[in-house]
């Protein structure tokens, strides 16, 4: 009977008050709500307001409401009968002792509930704290995770409740709330509790929207450098050297098989390849479906798209001063199309139109669809499906080693050669790259630097690119490190 009454109170409160208020008065916007798993999990978030628990509970469908418990401080919510009824009955909370007596394990009730297949809403900061400030997560979350290896932890970042009803205010003011849900993950139970708490805090904070830029002039978009051409190894080395060099003047991101972040403080390179984004699979699938794999393998095509998308996002958010990419969806796809399918067909005007199709500035007219699907399906795919709008680079580095050298390197590799990998095909491709580069130089004022790895040093190339970008950027040229 007690359980029945408790369930009725819980549903009445949520259906009659919490959810209508959150929907109509506050206007909560959930992002990636579908990431909340169906099974038991631990939802953790920053905590600035009494609204937080309600917002996080409404991430779950109504049918799971009886199996979701916000963890509430026993000393605060047990202080009066009203608070107790509200937190423990209406909100289905579980009390936790913030100052346990010796020998008492305050986490045991939580472990029991999770073992029973229930989910918990947990605020690792311990209290609401100062409005808009995320306090250091306490190690309790780490201890809980260590006791339950394999427990799925769902990080959520809440933006807005701190303005609506911060600590010390009696009247809430309706404003919007964003609840941003992160990917559920497990933590290594062998790590220390403090270490796990820090990892959880990092996961929650990584969901926070970027802070507004400081007042004054808006940050400038990053300057793009694309390193394109035939020799993959030299391209990657050139990209790394240029990004490292540019890092002296501000944040420079190198996007290739891995991500390089160079700044005056140093250079970091991720060990994992960046090509594991969720949309990689569907881009590759689309490419396979329409047979866009003739020249690029599916994964390679989607890697190009991913790099271009990352570069686009970095540009939109002004997250870096320089972006250096290994390859360019814009240059590579158009050069391949010219070399393979449209050789001798395009005049400069049509070729420029292809560049504009790839850059997303124009749509391919219906009448030309079939021609593109048949001969250069990658371009049609990028354009019609709006996969990406690759930026036109400020500097294009063409890595063009002698074809003979590339062929002997390919033959010595031992792998079977593809149809285009012969002297004539590579020669044609080099000509196509030069033609696209010339077009970009004339029409879009792109600075072209040809690079032959057999004759020039990579450092000299990086220095040339650096000088060119600084000249274009009209930005302070003093490296803080050198200044010191």
């Amino acid at each position: 009977m007690k359980n029945f009454l408790r369930t009725v109170a819980l549903y009445l409160f949520h259906l009659g008050f919490v959810r209508p208020v959150l929907t109509w008065i506050v206007g909560v916007r959930y992002r990636r709500r579908s990431l909340v798993p169906d099974g038991p999990c631990l939802v953790v978030s920053n905590h600035n307001s009494h609204l937080d628990a309600g917002v996080l509970m409404s991430l779950f469908p109504l049918r799971r409401l009886t199996r979701v418990h916000p963890v509430a401080a026993a000393d605060y919510f047990g202080s009066t009968l009203f608070k107790q009824a509200l937190a423990m009955w209406m909100m289905n909370g579980i009390p936790i002792q913030r100052r346990p007596t010796p020998g008492q394990d305050p986490l045991q009730p939580l472990v029991d509930k999770l073992n029973q297949g229930h989910s918990l809403v947990f605020f690792p900061e311990g209290s609401r704290g100062e409005a808009g400030v995320v306090a250091r997560f306490r190690p309790g979350i780490g201890k809980l995770v260590r006791q339950l290896p394999g427990l799925l932890v769902v990080p959520v970042y809440l933006a807005g409740p701190e303005k609506i009803w911060p600590r010390g205010q009696t009247v809430p003011v309706p404003l919007n709330i964003d609840a941003i849900v992160g990917k559920p993950r497990t933590y290594n139970p062998e790590d220390g509790a403090r270490e796990i708490a820090e990892q959880v805090q990092h996961d929650v904070l990584s969901l926070a929207p970027p802070p507004p830029p400081p007042p004054g002039e808006a940050a400038q978009p990053p300057q793009h450098v694309a390193v394109c051409g035939l020799d993959g190894k030299s391209r990657a080395e050139a990209m790394r050297a240029i990004a490292t060099r540019l890092g002296r003047h501000g944040t420079a991101l190198g996007l290739g098989a891995t991500l390089i972040e160079a700044s005056p403080e140093g250079v970091h390179e991720t060990s994992a390849p960046i090509a594991h984004m969720p949309y990689r699979a569907w881009t590759a699938m689309l490419a396979r479906l329409i047979g866009a794999n003739k020249r690029f393998s599916g994964p390679k095509f989607s890697e190009k798209i991913e790099i271009a998308r990352l570069s686009e996002i970095i540009g939109e958010r002004r997250s870096a001063r320089f972006v250096v990419t290994d390859g360019s969806a814009l240059v590579d796809l158009s050069a391949w199309a010219v070399a393979e399918s449209y050789r001798g067909v395009f005049d400069d005007r049509e070729l420029n139109r292809v560049v504009e199709y790839l850059a997303g500035k124009q749509k391919i007219p219906w009448g030309k669809w079939w021609s593109f699907i048949r001969r250069a399906p990658e371009i049609w795919l990028v354009n019609e499906w709006s996969l990406v709008r690759p930026a036109i680079p400020a500097v294009l580095v063409l890595v063009l080693p002698p074809v003979g050298g590339v062929m002997s390197a390919l033959r010595s590799g031992g792998e079977s050669l593809e149809a285009h990998q012969n002297e004539e095909g590579l020669e044609r491709l080099q000509q196509a790259y030069r033609r696209i580069a010339e077009l970009l130089r004339r029409r879009h004022r792109v600075v072209i630097t040809e690079f032959n790895p057999l004759e020039q040093g990579i450092e000299a190339l990086a220095e040339t690119v650096e000088a060119e970008l600084l000249r274009q950027g009209d930005r302070p040229e003093v490296c803080p490190r050198e200044k010191r």
Binding site: V173, L175, N176, D178, P212, E316, K363
Partner: protein, 293 residues
């Protein structure tokens, strides 16, 4: 229902036709990115606004006014959520919300003169009082400007739509909707003028919008009981107001540091979608009541 579709419904159908056109355009251009990204959200908002306009014009006030009040509240809330406000501005925000029913009450009872008296007193004299409550005046002027701008856009301007509710203005709200859509669609398709970008296409959008709104005003005004010349002038004035509203909303979005995506599809979108229309509401009202009665 009989009240909704009774009488002359040609202007309702004209509004539905305009909505269909913008929805089809939004659907066809939905994947083009850039300035076209904002079209689906804008079209969606206009279906809601058109419903409110038709209800205001043709249904009981007990149905239409709460809907209008909620629309004002939701847009004001979205604005305050993206505008930086000081913690101590919360009481002024509450007063702004409370002002919504106070503003709508004179319109509900049909007292236009009372509306014109209540708006300046409640909004522009009382709201600032709640901003100066406390000891520190740091940032007061900035706060006051942000607060009152939101109130002007989403309470004062939208409030004028409520004054049309009633039989004496039958059809004018639908006409207003058609004129705003006719002015705004070409502008949105051509893009807004920005410093440093080519101005020819946006200018063409503005001019086409003006011609379209003026022409439609001329043709449709008799259906709302207005002389055709007055309708043409009303269409022209609405398109001018929409243009000015768009310029102002873009500038405010830029100053609020809303990124392009936030201003187009995110939280800041309410402002860029609604302000051009709400800017035109008082202009249309005062022209119709004072110059073309």
């Amino acid at each position: 229902m009989a009240q909704l579709f009774g009488g002359d419904t040609r202007l309702v159908w004209a509004l539905a036709g305009a909505l269909t056109v913008i929805s089809v355009v939004a659907f066809l251009t939905r994947r083009r990115g850039g300035r076209f990204r904002a079209l689906p959200g804008w079209a969606g908002l206009w279906w809601v606004m058109a419903t409110v306009l038709v209800l205001l014009s043709r249904s009981s006030r007990w149905i239409a006014f709460p809907l209008l009040a909620f629309m004002m509240f939701a847009s004001l809330r979205a604005y305050f959520s993206v505008a930086p406000v000081r913690p101590r501005d919360r009481y002024a925000i509450l007063v702004s919300y409370v002002a919504i029913p106070l503003i709508l009450w004179p319109a509900f009872i049909g007292a236009v003169n009372l509306f014109q008296a209540v708006v300046p007193v409640v909004l522009f004299l009382i709201v600032p009082v709640f901003l100066v409550y406390g000891t520190s005046e740091r940032g007061l002027l900035g706060s006051m400007g942000r607060m009152l701008l939101g109130v002007i856009f989403f309470v004062f301007c939208i409030g004028h739509l409520a004054l049309f509710a009633g039989s004496s203005h039958h059809g004018l709200l639908e006409l207003f909707g058609v004129l705003v859509l006719a002015s705004e669609l070409p502008q949105r398709l051509a893009g807004r003028p920005h410093p440093g970008t080519p101005w020819l296409r946006p200018l063409a959008g503005i001019i086409i919008g003006m011609f379209l709104a003026t022409g439609l005003g001329y043709m449709l005004a008799p259906l709302a009981g207005m002389p055709d010349n007055d309708g043409a002038r009303a269409g022209f004035l609405v398109s001018v107001a929409v243009t000015l509203g768009a310029l102002v909303s873009e500038a405010v979005a830029t100053d609020l540091k809303l990124t392009s995506s936030a201003a187009v599809i995110g939280r800041g979108a309410t402002m860029t979608r609604m302000v051009p229309a709400v800017y035109a509401a008082p202009v249309f009202f005062h022209y119709v009541t004072n110059f073309a009665p």
